[in-house]
């Protein structure tokens, strides 16, 4: 409906309707609009467009909006945002455009933003909010309350009073709900949670998310190298990091390096998927090469060609199951030390159990098929069934071991197990599957 109003350029009505929406809903609206309508909407709204919506948009749509806004309008919008959101909006812009926007901003915002952008991407320094409220430990609750009511530059929302020493080092923190219940003459230092979790500005954001989750934090103070308070990270950023992180793992396992956002151009999507498909082509060719070694065997017994994908595919599936669990547990850090050893042993046991089950199942089924439908002598059918069963159990055991050892090994080697485990595991299950089945067949069935 609003799309029609935009098309008709019923500007007043569009402005009225957009004004009623929360920023996140404006972002949703823009994501649903095409590029042309987005540009029209930006023209209509101009600086009226809620700044927070910019931070909520996904990459493709945000690029369109940024492109449609004038430098002044963009500078105004960015200045309205918290430093972490502002940095997030600016980080993907070109060097020159970013400098132009920064130049248009008020000096205080500009300096804060420049400082934020100096921290590496995906570190605490980048996701932190720089405006914090801190009070000296010897102040009373009443003094702090009075100060809070009079001071100008405060973060829009905060959840703890940070208590610092004269060197601006963190002594402790007081959750607002505790602070608010305290008497006015209470010394704030006495209210402090002892040994609060403090975050180093250079800490990786995944580490930050891990601490937040583990200790159920809502906000945490961020300190620089000299342990001075420089900002705070709040939990709303953490929810996004957690989602992003697992999302990345999940996409990486399927061979997608870059999040294929809805608005990403077709050519970019195709390219981002091509590389992984190419790597997998290597695996597939390797598997073909193994099969090629046994072409004479297959020619003598075409049943092998019919059954061989079953061995490879069951191994592939078993390997994927194990690998996915391993990658998840590595990323939640539940797979360390003694637990890792236990997990390897457990996966071995599970592989042997399920391998044996499917070996019996398919061995018998293949034997019956070969004797019945294909009409071969019983002894040969039994031999084929046995070879299939043996290959199945060998491949599912290798699949289980590969599924746990490859991610563990990649992690040890400092690689992201989510990114490359799948290729290695598939290679193992394909190569072992075809080699075991055809190799055993060549040895025992065909002469």
């Amino acid at each position: 409906m609003i799309r029609e109003r935009i098309d008709e350029r019923d500007d007043d009505e569009v402005r009225r309707q957009v004004a009623e929406l929360k920023p996140a809903d404006v972002a949703d609206l823009i994501e649903q609009l095409g590029e042309d309508d987005t540009r029209k909407l930006v023209e209509i709204e101009g600086a009226e467009l809620p700044a927070e919506a910019l931070a909520e948009l996904e990459d493709g749509a945000r690029d369109t909006v940024i492109d449609a806004l004038s430098t002044e309008q963009l500078a105004e919008a960015v200045a309205e945002l918290d430093t972490d959101e502002a940095a997030f909006v600016l980080e993907d812009m070109g060097e020159k455009d970013r400098a132009e926007v920064l130049a248009e901003m008020p000096i205080a915002d500009r300096l804060a933003l420049k400082a934020a952008l100096e921290y590496d991407d995906e570190t605490a320094g980048r996701i932190m909010q720089r405006d914090v409220f801190a009070a000296p430990g010897y102040w009373t609750v009443g003094q702090i309350l009075d100060r809070l009511r009079s001071v100008e530059r405060l973060p829009e929302t905060f959840y703890d009073v940070y208590v610092v020493d004269p060197g601006y080092k963190i002594i402790g923190l007081v959750p607002l709900s505790k602070f608010i219940k305290a008497k006015r003459d209470q010394i704030v230092q006495e209210l402090c949670t002892p040994e609060p979790i403090v975050i180093d500005a250079k800490m990786d954001q995944e580490e930050v998310a891990y601490l937040f989750e583990k200790y159920n934090l809502i906000s945490a103070p961020v300190v620089d190298d000299s342990k001075r308070l420089v900002g705070m990270v709040t939990v709303d950023d953490v929810v996004e990091i957690v989602r992003e992180e697992i999302n990345e793992d999940m996409l990486a396992l399927a061979g997608i390096e870059e999040d294929n956002a809805i608005n990403m151009p077709i050519r970019k999507v195709a390219r981002s998927r091509f590389v992984w498909l190419l790597v997998n082509l290597g695996t597939a060719i390797l598997a073909s090469f193994i099969i090629g070694l046994f072409d004479a065997t297959i020619q003598q017994m075409v049943a092998l060609a019919i059954l061989m994908p079953i061995v490879a595919s069951m191994g592939g599936n078993a390997g994927t199951q194990t690998m996915t669990v391993a990658v998840r547990n590595l990323s939640t850090r539940t797979l360390t030390g003694a637990t890792a050893v236990r997990a390897v042993w457990k996966e071995t046991a599970v592989s042997v159990i399920n391998g044996a089950a499917f070996a019996v199942l398919m061995g018998v089924a293949a034997g019956l098929w070969y004797a019945g439908l294909v009409g071969q002598p019983r002894a040969e059918a039994t031999a084929l069934g046995s070879v299939l069963a043996a290959a199945m159990i060998i491949n599912m055991l290798c699949a289980g071991l590969a599924g746990i050892l490859i991610p563990l090994g990649l992690q040890r080697a400092g690689q992201d197990p989510a990114v490359s485990s799948a290729v290695f595991v598939t290679t193992v299950t394909d190569v072992v599957g075809f080699f075991a089945f055809l190799g055993l067949a060549a040895t025992f069935l065909v002469n």
Copy 2:
């Protein structure tokens, strides 16, 4: 180190060391201990064991601890927890054990907990905290501050003052950081955020998480059917839901229905994976059946058996990429209405582009191999390369379409696309892959 102290039953030292840990670290410690050491630790600590650690433990380890605690000790620990955490600890216990624990608890806690357990699992009612602080709209900030300082039963931490009308219906809410900055004589209703997000107690927890993420909420009031305030949900629960939800999607795509926690017994893990492997065996047998239709063709030209896994495997990988992106976008609700149509079109385009690229690549490679290494006449090699290329492009196009249409269709049909998409997509890519390649070969290459 602490494990050795536990083994030696150096009780005082164990108690001293555990007392220094935060609850989440105690939970980590217990997860690293085996079952025997956990029992010893519970014996040593008894009721000293921090109650919050119980809520942080993963299922297997928690069962051990609950089993090792006496009913009285457990009741005492549960009573210390917030209602949502207490319900979480009790929900997996047997009916009888749970009743015994409830009977040992103070009456107020017991009633709150029983009410919480009456809401369905995975709803807002189950994850909400029942103690909330609400104030009438006509009160002043000063009145509320005085009340907060005197009232006994308050939630341990809270982030907003909920403002209600005389019927206990939500008028609005005031973030503590805004409340704390207000003057004492300010009427609280005038501070309210208008139209706050209010959660229905029966709302599914994934819906709750969605709202929290979308609107960057820290806490939200929960209301019953008659719109009366009954509790609040806080963001720390949401982080866990988000993680759990994507985790489930990711594991489901790999064919794991139940989270295979580190402490789950081997037999249970094997069983939980068996079903999926069995379903996939069906797919693999279907693929074999297709190959079986062309046994005479393969016998005449073994090169087909060597090359056919490449077609199926490339289709499988392309399908998995598309499907994973589709499942992710469905679960973040970015794949709706107009966007879905655009996504289908885009995936078709991407499949055609990459399909064509790999068709050319593999068509040429297979032709060269067949003419060179295998030593067949050039015309036949060209024909084989063309057939492979055609099969490749057909299968990759079908893979792309299956990868997007199957998850969309399952979602429309009210199924969870993460759970069953993979089997259907693999079936399509295997069947189409083998059928297209062998069928074209039978028609054009072999007579």
